[in-house]
Each structure stands twice: as structure tokens, then as C-alpha cells.
Amino acid sequence: MIAWVRANLFPGWISGVVTILLGATILYIGWGFVSWAIVNAHWTVPLTPQGPDTGLCRDTHAVAACWAVMPEKFRFILFGRYPYDQQWRPAFAILLFVALYILSGLRRFWRRGLIGIWIAALLAIGLLMWGGLPGLPFVAQDECGGLPITLILSTFGIAGAFPRAVLVALGRRATALPAVRLLCVVYVELIRGVPLVALLFMASVMFPLFLPDGVSIDKLLRAQVAIILFAAAYLAEVIRGGLQALPPGQFEAADALGLSYWRKTRLIVLPQALRLVIPPLVNTFTGLFKDTSLVLIIGILDLLTAGKVAIADPLWQPFGEEIYLVLGAIYFAFCYAMTRYSRGLERADPQRGGR
């Protein structure tokens, strides 16, 4: 044990000093945080006839966290303005999403049938959230919010972007069609050069001008279209990397067999290329999942926005830090799981020289 400490924490003179400094800082900040968040924290507030009494919580906020805000507000943060008695539906939708992610991650499901599973799952989630069937009353777009919206925007985003990305990636490599190649290059460079915020503004403000009178598309759908356009550009680059990594022998062999362009692509090229790029694909999805938080700026009630609106209530207004920490933990849970998964894939892939 001592030998380990000696070797790892104090290998050298300077290193030893660094260890002491880092250690002291961690202990100081760590103890401060722990005492704020756990030791001194208030877990409940007294309930008066006028509602919860947050006075003590407020006065001691500098030294004590007020976790009582969570049981009060977690339903709003998770589900937005969804009708109270129907909230089992978004909860179930969240479980369906998680199941879909886990299923897609298992290697034995990497077959053509996976596309069918995705379509079925997304349809089921759509029906569940919006209803309109007997037994499932209709819930308007404006009332959906919270975690399901984040999941919907990112998942439908990547699902919608995927076919377009494949087409654009293929188009970019089509040497026989220079006009198509130019278009694909322009599209990818244009979208990658502008921030997502600008695209969201364009969607929320300019799209309605492009449509004829009487046709209007919902705010959420507009944001979804913008996210699909955005994701397709980045995904196209990832897929193009996979196409480039494929040994040219594969293409030549397919041509020698007399396969047409589309059959070659569908049967030989794409399955291999996509399998190569699954880790960067998962990373792109992780990035998209985080980027959906930007819809705060155009007023859509996703997880982050719901958190902010929750503390609009004057009673709970000072407790922003607690809410942000919980939101951060939720995002972290999803994203960390995805990055661990992609790293595990990379390591285990025999083609990359993994064990």
C-alpha cells in the first residue's frame, strides 16, 4: 500500500508537490460541497395552509442546499405541463426510449430487422404521447414537455437524419455526378459552419414564411426539422469516413460480380461501412442529445427549459443550483452510458486491433 502511494502519488519531487496541492484543493472544495449538499441540507419544508414555507430554506441557502424543491417540482421537470392524471404515458414513453437504446446496443440485434424495430417503437411512442385513440385522450403539442421532449427531439432527429446522411455521404463520393457532389459538399459545409442556435432561429422564425397561407407547422415540428437537417450534415461526415475506410477491394469485387450501383451499396458497402463507424455514430448521438437543450432559446419546453420554468415559482426561485445539479445528473447519466458503450465497442472491435 505504501509502495503504491509512493510510486503513484509521489514519484518525484515536483509530482509530490502537485499531489499535495491537488489533494488539499480537492479536500477543501469537496468538503465544502458535501457539507452544503448533504450534511447541512434541508430535505423537507414545513407545510402551512398557504402552501410550503420556504423561509428557513432561503435564509440558510448559502450553507445548506434545499432539496425539498425536488419532490415539489420533479413531476413538472420530467413531464412539463402534461395533464396530471395522464402522466403515466410520458413515463412509459421514457421507458420505451431507454429500452430502444439498450436493444440497439446489443450486437445480436444488428440486423436489417432493427430498422423495423425502430419504426415500430417510434410509432408506439408517438401514439402514446399524443393519443387520439379511445382510451388515450388527445394531448396537444404545447402541453408535452420535459424529458420526453428531449428524447423525442434527439431520437427522431437521428432517425430522420440517418437516411438523408447516407444519401449525402454517397453523393459526396459520387465522382460520376459532379453536380450532385457539389450540392452535397455545399450542404454539409453550410450546415457545419453555422451554429445550431442560428438554425433554430431560422426554423422558428423563417419556416412559417416559406409556407403558403393556411398551412402552418407546429413549433416542435419546426425545431425537429432543424435538428434533423443539422444532424444529417454531421452524420454524413461520419458515414463518409466509414465509406473511405472500406478497402477498395470490396468495391471492385462487387463490380466484378456485376452488381448495380444501388445493389452494391445496399448489400456490400453500407453494412460494412456502418459497422465501422458505430462508435463515432454513438458520439454524434450523444452530442445531439446535449444539443437539444438549445431549444430553450426558442421557447420549447424540453428538460432544461422545464427546470428553468420550475424555479419561476417565486417560492422556489433561489434554488436554481439544486435544479441545475439534478438536471446535470440526468444528462450525465444518459451521456455517460452512451460514451462508455461506444468506448467499449471500440476496444472490443477486432478490426481495430482490440483484445
Binding site: 412559417p208 420554468v309 417565486p314 426561485q317
Partner: protein, 336 residues
């Protein structure tokens, strides 16, 4: 897909012609069976959901009034929360039928944005709120202060003019999100928070026990007439919205309330009889039923009742918003 849209586009005008009300917006509302109303959703006294999720406030009741007149049922409203930056584009694009969102009537907005203001439901003005501990008693003491204001509002223009006029300077902090800007003010990032006086009153009221730490400065530095907004190009809809407001004022002038309306239907006063549709055809001229005012007053109330329900609990007196007979500016042209 495009063929379908083109076919739809060709059918829509025929549908409107077939219905014959002459107002595409009113026809859309009737066929939908619901009024889509743009509000803020976070301003106490104007549009804020209560603990059951029901939208309460002066603007919300304004939406209900239009729904009562257009559809006969004040509950057939879908509220669409909008921010200061997307409120106008939502109205221009047709996403909402009407915008009642604490919006100030200005020339720039009417002439430059293709919108029309259908009356004034609240005569307001820009004010300042400061912490009592700052020791400031007048807006003229605010030279060099940092002021929190939302971008894209007429408030930021008003305070820029005021400070320029009085040869004072200020540092702006402009954050779009309402909660974020109020948080910055209470945290002490700014010395003063500036917005419409009505919003300041509502905010102070919502602070509950902490309200005593803040004061609203006496100066009102600009005129901010707030009212419902509709798109240009639909005159009949504009008439309907505007005269809904006037009908509520006329009802208050004539002493008709939601409680007395059943008796007033039997009144012999010709003005009362015309307003309530017992005589004349005011309603049909607007494209709605003759007795359009009856569900309006019964389900929503006259202007005074709406004020007492939404604004009086915040401790704001009628002031400029009183009837012209009582020294205020609210004046309804004759309904005849």
C-alpha cells in the same frame, strides 16, 4: 404532397366563400372549434397558470372574451405561450389567431410589422423597481446605474430615450428569459429592473413576504398602451376583436354584470337592448350571433369585473384604466 397542398390551397378560399363570414381567421376558428390565443404564460395578473393549470389573468380573460363572442363558449380557447422574441412571428405566420401578450401599441409595430392593435386593454407605462436598500427615491437618481431589461421590448427603447433626454447614462443587462432577468435583479446584478408598471406590480405581489424589500419608483417614463394584436388583411376579424373589448366597456358603463344580466335582458333601456341583441342586429354585422354579448358578459364579465378578478388582488387601482365617466381613459364608441 405538393399537389395535395395546391389542391388544399384552391379549396380553402372556396370554403371561406361558402361560409360567407368574410373573415378567414373567423372561419378557421369556427371550423377548428377553438380559438388559438398567444399569451405570455408567466406574468402574474395577465397570464399565469394557477395551481390547477388553468390560465388566469387580464390577457387570458381577453382571449376568453373573444372566444365567447366568436364561438359562444369562453372555454374554447387553446393558450399558446410565446416569448418576447417569437410573439410577432407566431402571429404573422398564423400559428395563433390573436396575440394578447402585454404588447405595447406603437407606430413601428403597426406600420412596420403588418399588425393591427384592436384596442387597449390596459393603459400602462414603463417604471422602475429598485431594492429599498439602494436608497433611491426617484428615477432621476439612477444616473450610472445598471438596469435589467428584456431585449426586443418597447421598454428598452423607452429607457434609452429617457436617459438620453435627461443626460444620464446607464448600463443595460439584457437577458431574454423573464425568470433569468428577474433572478439577476434580485441577486443584485442590476440596480434597477425596468418593465411595464403593471408587470412590476404583479412581480412585487408575487414576491409575497419579500415584497417589502423592494419599491417601485414613482416615475412613469413612457406611455405603454397594451392591447390585443391581430394580423393586417382581415378587417372583419379586427372589427370583432375590437368591438368585443368595447362591448365589455359598454356593459360596465350601463351597469350590466354577469350577475345582473338575466334581469337586464328584460330591460327597457334601448342601449341595453341593442347591446344584448334584444333589438337591432349588431351581432350579424360582426359576423356572429345577434346575442353575442350575452355569453360574453355571462361567462367572462364586463371590464370592471375582469379587472376586479385579475388586477385588484395585486393592489393596483383603476387609475387611467377607469371609465371616462370616472376620470379614466377607457371609452367605448357607441354600439349602434
Amino acid at each position: 404532397m405538393r399537389a395535395l397542398m395546391a389542391a388544399m390551397m384552391m379549396l380553402l378560399p372556396t370554403l371561406a366563400w361558402a361560409q360567407g363570414s368574410g373573415s378567414p381567421t373567423l372561419d378557421a376558428v369556427k371550423s377548428r372549434g377553438q380559438l388559438v390565443c398567444g399569451i405570455a404564460g408567466n406574468i402574474p395578473g395577465f397570464s399565469l397558470p394557477d395551481s390547477q393549470g388553468v390560465m388566469r389573468g387580464l390577457d387570458a380573460d381577453g382571449c376568453r372574451a373573444v372566444a365567447a363572442v366568436a364561438l359562444g363558449d369562453a372555454s374554447k380557447v387553446r393558450f399558446s405561450p410565446l416569448t418576447t422574441t417569437n410573439r410577432f412571428t407566431a402571429l404573422q405566420s398564423g400559428e395563433v389567431d390573436i396575440l394578447i401578450r402585454d404588447t405595447t401599441w406603437t407606430l413601428g409595430r403597426e406600420a412596420g410589422l403588418g399588425l393591427l392593435f384592436a384596442g387597449v386593454n390596459y393603459y400602462d407605462g414603463t417604471g422602475f423597481m429598485v431594492k429599498k436598500s439602494a436608497g433611491v427615491t426617484s428615477a432621476k437618481d439612477l444616473d450610472g446605474a445598471t438596469i435589467c431589461v428584456q431585449p426586443g421590448t418597447s421598454t428598452e427603447l423607452a429607457i434609452a430615450d429617457y436617459f438620453r433626454n435627461n443626460k444620464m447614462s446607464f448600463k443595460p443587462v439584457e437577458i431574454q428569459d423573464l425568470q433569468e432577468i428577474r433572478g439577476a435583479f434580485t441577486a443584485g446584478r442590476c440596480d434597477a429592473y425596468s418593465t411595464d408598471g403593471s408587470q412590476l406590480a404583479g412581480y412585487k405581489f408575487s414576491l409575497g413576504s419579500q415584497a417589502g424589500d423592494y419599491i417601485i419608483l414613482p416615475e412613469i417614463i413612457s406611455k405603454e398602451p397594451l392591447g390585443p394584436v391581430v394580423r393586417k388583411g382581415d378587417d372583419k376579424w379586427f372589427d370583432l376583436v375590437r368591438w368585443t373589448g368595447f362591448a365589455q366597456l359598454a356593459a360596465e358603463e350601463l351597469g350590466i354584470t354577469s350577475k345582473t344580466i338575466d334581469n337586464d335582458l328584460k330591460s327597457t333601456n334601448p342601449e341595453v337592448r341593442r347591446l344584448l341583441g334584444v333589438e337591432g342586429d349588431l351581432g350579424t354585422q360582426l359576423g356572429v350571433a345577434k346575442d353575442f354579448a350575452v355569453p360574453l358578459i355571462k361567462q367572462v364579465g364586463n371590464y370592471g369585473e375582469v379587472w376586479d378578478r385579475d388586477i385588484t388582488p395585486m393592489g393596483v387601482s383603476r387609475g387611467l384604466n377607469n371609465l371616462w365617466t370616472k376620470g379614466g381613459l377607457q371609452y367605448a364608441p357607441p354600439l349602434r
